[in-house]
């Protein structure tokens, strides 16, 4: 992976449309708005906010951002940090995932292999794809396991399901986020097969979207990881607004939430 901090020094070749658009923008803005952008764009203009509490009225984004000269500072008064106790947090996640008509089960680390086997059997899956770096305990037994080593899309289309981990889960919205890490694999494997079983550790659960974005921002800045937010199975409401689960993505999403203590 290329370090995100690297900045190209190659001169951008002169593009007449580029110059035209930038000139139009400067003309349009000549009417008297402030002249400097918030921070230096690449700065941690929002670290102030991400680390703060949900108390209203006390944060100004961009203020004091390192290397930045904030001009369009604004109050970041919305909630950032969650307030739930650990148990309530996990319950909220499960409830919200369930609202999307995904299956969700809470299991201990010891119960996980059985839960995986049951999920696969319940969906009638006989061939399952896994990223090459999943923990041994997750490895499904009793079915054919296909490790993803650049399977073709046609080959992926012929497996019955996929088993992955995740990077973070957001309780408030019932969302799991994959970022191409070792237990998550490349984006295609959690997309093409019809069944997706996702293992979520309780320690990976956050309450709010801003809490998740703070973690994910680190991965994007440092490693340019591609991110996929998944909230339930794929769905459409295009026909008379009737919700139909399962269009192009997996029709069945099963989330297994593994408790902390015995992990």
């Amino acid at each position: 992976m290329v370090a995100a901090a690297a900045v190209s020094t190659a001169p951008v070749p002169l593009d007449p449309s580029r110059e035209l658009i930038l000139a139009r923008i400067r003309d349009a803005l000549a009417g008297g708005v402030a002249a400097t952008a918030r921070g230096d764009v690449g700065s941690a203009a929002h670290e102030v906010a991400a680390g703060g509490a949900a108390a209203p009225g006390d944060e100004v984004a961009g203020a004091g951002a390192p290397g930045g000269a904030p001009s369009a500072a604004f109050a970041r008064t919305y909630g950032v940090r969650g307030t739930l106790e650990p148990e309530a947090l996990i319950e909220l996640l499960c409830e919200r995932i369930g609202d999307y008509r995904a299956e969700v089960r809470r299991v201990s680390a010891a119960e996980l292999p059985t839960a995986i086997a049951q999920a696969l059997a319940g969906a009638g899956a006989a061939r399952v794809c896994v990223p090459s770096a999943i923990p041994p305990a997750w490895r499904p037994v009793g079915v054919e396991v296909v490790e993803d080593a650049s399977l073709s899309f046609d080959e992926l289309d012929r497996v019955d399901g996929v088993l992955t981990g995740c990077t973070v889960a957001i309780a408030e919205t019932g969302t799991i986020v994959l970022s191409g890490g070792p237990t998550e694999g490349r984006r295609a494997i959690s997309l093409v097969p019809d069944l997706h079983i996702c293992v979520v550790g309780e320690e990976q659960v956050v309450e709010t979207v801003p809490e998740a974005m703070a973690q994910l921002g680190e991965l994007v800045r440092a490693e340019r990881r591609p991110l996929t937010f998944i909230s339930g199975p794929s769905a459409t409401s295009d026909i008379e607004l009737n919700r139909v689960e399962g269009v192009h993505g997996p029709r069945l999403l099963i989330v297994l939430v593994v408790s902390k203590e015995t992990a």
């Binding site: 900045v7 951008v12 349009a28 899309f153 408030e172 794929s234 459409t236 295009d238």
Partner: protein, 464 residues
């Protein structure tokens, strides 16, 4: 687009006569409206999020040149290619060039208003490249040669019977039923083949992050993930106003957009990618930064807030005009209240002079807008411009006459006395049902109360 759009009033009149359309629209807009209200109500800091959304967008526009060049640099550093398009034709040309460079004759597309706006499909077709729409609703419209009538639910004007007949005729077997489940399955089967083997994809984007060069696509069906992940070449067209300064800013919009749009806490899939990732997703990635009238909108200090729009479509669903006429009457890919302020600004007020009047100014759109675009304010601003650009001369002289009449007490009282006599033959069961001459325009669609038999002043004098 340089040609004038069809005027709103006759188009609306025609739409109002279509009972099926009105029934479909009523059901659809009310269903989404209710879902939205429920999920917005559970967010305690909704108003604070709206304020933040507006503040971020205001900042983006105020420093658009800085953020665009930062975005350009970040995408290049991440292995992507950045192109600039001053107008629609140039954007289409860029896409066609990429297709030709790879010898592609068919590509897959994610639903994108921006590509509809610039007429990409027709331009590609003219260049020998077929673009397959992959969003279910967009596929329905493409197969039928129809066009979108709602930002979020483009085929909102079509019911299941119409869709079944269309699919049975084009992509599925004649034995297809009307069950939405079966209809969705038909599109899944038809498109899967395309996804797995497409050599190129085109997408729009919801957001671009200046800080990191990250591009974000928000969707439901998974066709967005298919298009942005499987084909080896990806071209994304991004309106220049779609930027946000930092990655963290997305935390605001990823809360505002799904709840405002589909009425969900979060949409099923959101994809974010930053340039190219070896071994994962497309090996070649292009971004086209599109102006096509946006800088013209930016130059208007009142009107530029229309560029805050994140295309959620909440304003359509609450609008008393849209929910009756539907989207086609607006004559543009951007219908409803946001379309009434965006279209005339993107194309020039002289090309869409009737759109700013397609509103009752009730303000419901402003109330639901997740980024607080003051749509009524912009509507009034654009009405003034439309009048300056050559409004109705009859109306102008009538207003002048009214000013003279209302300007003197005696004149006004005399006019009242005259009116009372003149109206006599026109009153039917206590109402004026039809006025003569040009005044008939008013009573064509409404009844009017006659002048009272006695004015307040007369009554007061009598009591003294």
């Amino acid at each position: 687009m340089s040609t004038a759009l069809p005027p709103f009033p006759p188009a609306a009149h025609e739409a109002l006569g279509d009972a099926q359309l009105r029934a479909n629209l009523h059901r659809a807009t009310h269903t989404i409206r209710d879902k939205r209200s429920r999920v917005v109500a559970e967010v305690a800091d909704w108003e604070e999020l709206r304020d933040a959304g507006r503040a971020i967008k205001t900042d983006v526009l105020a420093h658009l040149d800085t953020y665009l060049t930062a975005f350009e640099r970040a995408v290049s550093d991440a292995g992507g290619h950045v192109h600039w398009a001053a107008d629609a034709a140039e954007a289409n040309r860029h896409v066609l060039e990429v297709a030709r460079a790879h010898g592609v004759s068919e590509l897959v597309k994610v639903k994108s208003l921006t590509t509809d706006e610039i007429g990409l499909n027709a331009a590609l077709e003219a260049g020998g490249v077929h673009a397959v729409e992959t969003d279910l609703a967009e596929l329905i419209l493409q197969l039928d040669g129809d066009w979108s009538s709602h930002i979020l639910v483009p085929a909102i004007h079509r019911n299941r019977t119409e869709i079944r007949d269309l699919f049975a005729r084009t992509i599925a077997s004649p034995s297809l039923s009307e069950d939405p489940r079966e209809l969705a399955e038909a599109s899944r089967v038809y498109l899967r083949e395309k996804f797995l083997h497409a050599q190129m994809a085109v997408s729009g984007a919801n957001f671009g992050v200046a800080e990191t060069g990250t591009v974000c696509v928000v969707e439901s069906e998974g066709n967005g993930r298919m298009c942005t992940t499987l084909p080896p070449v990806l071209v994304t067209i991004l309106g220049i106003e779609k930027l946000v300064p930092t990655f963290a800013d997305l935390e605001v919009f990823l809360q505002l957009l799904p709840r405002s749009s589909t009425g969900e806490r979060m949409n099923p899939y959101t994809s974010l990618w930053t340039g190219v990732t070896p071994g994962d997703g497309p090996a070649e990635f292009h971004v086209i930064l599109l102006d096509a009238g946006r800088t013209r909108v930016l130059a208007d200090e009142v009107g530029r807030q229309a560029l805050h729009c994140i295309r959620c479509s909440a304003c359509l669903n609450v609008c008393p005009v849209y929910s009756r006429t539907g989207g086609h009457a607006y004559g543009s890919i951007y219908p409803g209240p946001i379309g009434a302020i965006l279209t005339p600004q993107l194309h020039g007020i002289e090309h869409a002079p009737t759109l700013p009047f397609a509103s009752s100014l009730c303000g419901a759109c402003y109330e639901v807008c997740p980024v607080k675009i003051n749509i009524p304010e912009v509507l009034l601003h654009l009405r003034a411009k439309a009048v300056q650009a050559g409004g109705d001369p009859g109306e102008a002289s009538a207003m002048k006459g009214a000013r003279w009449l209302f300007g003197g007490r005696r004149r006004f009282a005399a006019a009242e006395r005259f009116g009372r006599i003149a109206q006599r033959p026109l009153v039917r069961s206590g109402m004026l049902r039809r006025l003569p001459g040009p005044l008939g325009a008013w009573t064509r669609t409404r009844d009017m109360r006659p002048l009272a038999s006695e004015s307040f002043r007369e009554w007061w004098r009598r009591r003294q």
